[in-house]
C-alpha cells in the first residue's frame, strides 16, 4: 500500500536513509513484532517500535501498573497506577503513532498459550523479568522458528543477544538451564538503575527493526554485555552448542514446559 502524505512526512527521516527508503518503511508497516512483558525492557521497545511504524505490535503482560514500576517502565504514567499494563502501554503507543495496531494479551505467557501467539509474529522481543519465562520464550521461538531478541538486566548491568532459531546460537546454547532458585535475585531485591532497561530495551527494538528491514549485522552468535557504571560494551562471541538441549542435534527438549515459577507474583511481592 502506498504511503499517504502524512506517512511520508511522519517517516521522512527514515525514508531519507539509503538503507530504508520508502520500500523499507512500507516493509515496517507490514511487519508484526511481539513484545513479551510491558515492563522495563518492553517499555522503550514498545514506544520505539510504535514510533517507527511497525504495523502490528503485540504486547503480553498479565500485570497491573504499580508505583514501584515508574522509575523505569517509562511507557506507564503516574495516572496509570492500578491499570492493566497492556492497556496503559497501548494508549501511549497509539498516542505516538495512530498508524500502528496494538494487539494486547492481558495474560501471563506460559507453556499452554505462548506458541499460538508467537507464531503470528515476524519477530519477538523478550522483555520478561524472570528466567523461567526467558527459557520459555527461547524454546517457543525455536519451535515456531521466529527470530527473537533476548535481553536481561540487573542493577547496573545488562546483556543482549539476537537468535535466529535453527541458525544461530540460542539462549540455551549459552545458558543451559535457569540458575538454581534463589541464586539470582529479582529486581525487587537487588535493585536496578532505572535507565538501564531503557538502554537495553532500545537496543532490542533496534535489532527488531534491522531484522525486519534486512539491513546491517544482527547481534547473532554474540552476547553483548553492557556495564552502565564503566560504560563498557563488550561483544562476546558465542556459538551454537552441539549439545544444546533444544536446538542441538541431540535435543532433549521437544515440548514446552513451565520451569519453576514463570512469574514472581508471590502474593504481596512487588518486583
Amino acid at each position: 500500500m502506498p504511503l499517504s502524505e502524512q506517512q511520508i512526512e511522519r517517516y521522512s527521516r527514515h525514508i531519507i536513509l539509503r538503507d530504508i527508503g520508502g520500500a523499507g518503511q512500507e516493509k515496517l508497516l507490514a511487519s508484526k513484532v511481539l513484545i513479551l512483558g510491558a515492563g522495563g525492557l518492553g517499555s522503550p521497545a514498545a514506544l520505539y517500535l510504535a514510533a517507527a511504524g511497525v504495523g502490528t505490535i503485540g504486547l503480553v503482560d498479565g500485570d497491573e501498573v504499580d508505583i514501584t514500576n515508574l522509575h523505569r517502565q517509562i511507557v506507564h504514567h503516574t495516572a496509570d497506577i492500578g491499570r492493566r499494563k497492556v492497556d496503559s502501554a497501548k494508549e501511549r503507543m497509539l498516542a505516538i503513532n495512530p498508524d500502528v495496531t496494538v494487539q494486547t494479551y492481558d495474560i501471563w505467557a506460559c507453556a499452554d498459550n505462548i506458541r499460538e501467539i508467537v507464531r503470528q509474529y515476524d519477530f519477538v522481543i523478550d522483555g520478561a523479568d524472570n528466567f523461567a519465562a526467558k527459557f520459555l520464550i527461547n524454546d517457543a521461538c525455536y519451535f515456531e522458528k521466529v527470530p527473537f531478541s533476548h535481553a536481561g538486566i540487573l542493577q547496573f548491568e545488562g546483556q543482549l543477544m539476537t537468535v535466529i532459531p535453527g541458525q544461530t546460537a540460542c539462549y540455551r546454547c549459552v545458558f543451559r538451564l535457569p540458575p538454581p532458585v534463589g541464586s539470582a535475585p529479582p529486581c525487587g531485591q537487588a535493585g536496578v538503575l532505572g535507565v538501564l532497561p531503557g538502554v537495553v530495551g532500545s537496543l532490542q527494538a533496534t535489532e527488531a527493526i534491522k531484522y525486519l528491514l534486512g539491513i546491517g549485522e544482527l547481534l547473532t552468535d554474540s552476547l553483548l554485555t553492557y556495564s552502565a557504571l564503566t560504560m563498557e560494551f563488550r561483544k562476546v562471541p558465542v556459538e551454537r552448542s552441539s549439545d544444546c538441549p533444544v536446538c542441538g542435534p541431540k535435543a532433549t527438549i521437544t515440548a514446552l514446559k513451565d520451569e519453576g515459577r514463570v512469574t514472581c507474583n508471590k502474593k504481596g511481592c512487588k518486583c
Binding site: L3, I8, E9, S12, I15, I16, R18, G21, G22, A23
Partner: protein, 630 residues
Amino acid sequence: MHVDTDMELVLHLPEKVRRDTLAYRGQVERFLRGELSPVAFQACRAPMGIYDQRKGGTYMIRVRIGAGLASSAQLRCIAELSRKHGNGTVHVTTRQDLQIHDVKLEQTPDVLEGLLEAGLTSCGGGGNAVRNVTACPRAGICPLEQFSVAPHALAMAQYLLQFDSSCNLPRECKIAFAGCGKDCAGACVADLGFFAHRRNGMKGFAVYAGGGLGADPVVAVRIDDFVEQREIFEAAEAVKRLLDRYGDRSNTHRARLRHVLARFGPEEFTRLYRKERESIRRQGLEGEPPAIAESPDQPGIRTRPTAKARTPAPPAPDLLPEKDKHFYTLKLRLPLGDIPADDLIRIAQVAETYGAGVVRTTQQQDLLIPSIPRARIKALSKELQTLSIDVSANGQPKVIACPGASTCRLGLCLSRELAKAISDTLARQPASGPDGWTIRISGCPNSCGQHLAGDIGFQGSARRVNGRLMPCYDVFIGAKMAEGAARLAESIGTLPAKEIPEFAAKVFAEGNLTEDRLRELVREYGDSPEIPEDYYRDWGSEAPFSPVGQSAEPRSPVHELDLRGVPCPLNLVKAKLAIEKIPLGDVIEIDLDEGEPIQNVPVSLGRQGQEILATMKCEDHACVRIRRKL
C-alpha cells in the same frame, strides 16, 4: 653523439598482462554464448580498457602508451589494427593513450592479442584500475626539465601492472610524472602526481595526491616533500593501498582518491600515507621494483648530427627546441586528436627516417616527432604535406574535445562537433590572440576534455528555455597548472552551444584579454532576446536536443516529477519515493525550486548512488535528470 637506442625506454609488460590478455578471449566467447551476464562481462572488459560505445555492439579500445612514448613499430601495429578491426581512425587522448574505435566485440580479442605482439596493452586502460602512467610529452628532450621522468613513468607502470589489486580498486587511479613545475603532464590534477626535483644532486620527486577533474574537482595536495627516485614505488604502493582501503566501494560517486582525501583532510591523509610507507618499508615491497632506466638525454638517435647547420631552423609554433641545440621536435596538430591509420603509418616511417624512431603523444591530443636534426627539418615538413590531413597549427589555438555524446554514453552534448565549429570559425580570421592558448571542451561534467585545466574551458550542459531543452556550455577561465600553485578554472557564465564559436572568435581576435573583459563577453553573448530555432539543436545534429538518447537504441520514456514548492528535506523524500517506483536504469526528470532544493537534492541522491545525468536551469526553477542505478 651516438647514444644507445631507446630499447630501455620501453614499457616492459609483466607476465600477468599477457595472461589476462589471453584469458580475455575465453571471456568474450562465454559472454557471446550467454554463459556470462552483461554485468559480469563488463567487469572483465572494463579493466582491459574496452569501452562500449553508443553504437550498440561496437567497442572502443584504449591502448596505454606509457609516458606517451611509442616506437614506430608500435604505431604501425596500432594503425594496422585500426584499419583491420576498427574504423581506420586512431585517436590521441588527453592522457597520452591511443584509441581504436568501432571494434566489433568478436574482434576485440584479436586486437588485444595483436597489441601484445608489439609490446602494447589496453590493460588498465579503463575500469577501476591504475590507468596509463603519463609523463611530460617532452620528457628527455625538454630544455626546462630537471631530468627525464619518462623512465620513471614506464617503470611505475611496469611495477603496478603486475598486481591484481591494480585492476580492482574502488575507482580508477591516474598517475602522472612532471619533469618540472610547469606541469605539462597534468600532475597537479592527478590522483598521484610526481614532480621532479634534485636534492644534493640526487634525483627525486615531490609527491602530490588527491587531485582530479570530473565530479568534485580539486587540485592535488602535497603529501611528501621529497622521495628519492628509487622510492617512488613505495610511495605509489602506499597511496594505492589508501585508495584500496578507504575508497567507498559502495558509492561510485565518492570512491576516488580525492574523496578519501576530503574525508580525512590533508593532514590525516598525509599521516596515513606515512604510516603506510613505514609498514611497506618494514614488510618490503611486493614483487621486485623494476630498474629505472638511465635516461640518455636524447631517447635514442639514429644518425649523427651534421657538424654545422647550414641555415637556422625557421621559428614556428610547430617546431620546439630540444635540450640538445642540434635537434628539434616537430609538433603535429591533430584536429580533434584524430589521425587516419594510413597517416599514422606514414608518420611512423618518417619518425624512423628523420628522427629517432619514436613518437610522443601529448595531453593536448597531438603527436610529437622528436630528435630531428636541424638540417632535416625542411625535408621532413615536406614529407608531412603528403598526409591526408593538415597537421600544422597555422597559429591557431588548439581545440581539445572529449569524444562527446556522439559516441560516449555519458555525454550530454556533441563536443567534437562544437570543436570543429570553433576551429572552422577561427580559421576564417587571421591567427592572433593569446599565444599558445588551448580551448578544452567536455561534453558533460565528467571532464574527459579536462576543461577545468584549459585556458578557456567549456562544459556541456542543458537548459530549459521556453519549455524546450537547449544545449549549452558553461564557460570556464583562469586555470593555472603549476606545481604547488595550481588553480582550476572557474565558471563565468553559460552560453548556448550555437554562440560559442563566435564567442571564441571574438576572444582570439581581441588578443590579450583580461578576466573582466572575458566576463563581459560572456554576458554580451548570453543575452538573446529571441532565440533562433537552431539553438535548440546541437552542433552537427538535425534532431531536437536531448541530453539522453543520442543512441540508436529505443529509449524508455523519461519519467517526470514536479516538486516545485516542496521544501527540503521533504523534496528529497518524495524524490526517493518516486525513484523507487521506476525500473532500474530508467531516467526521471525532477523539477525543483532554485536555491537549497537544487543545491541539495541532486547531491544527496548522487551520494546514495543514483546517477545524476544533468542539472538544468529553467526560467523560474531548476530541473535535474537522474538515472536510477540502485
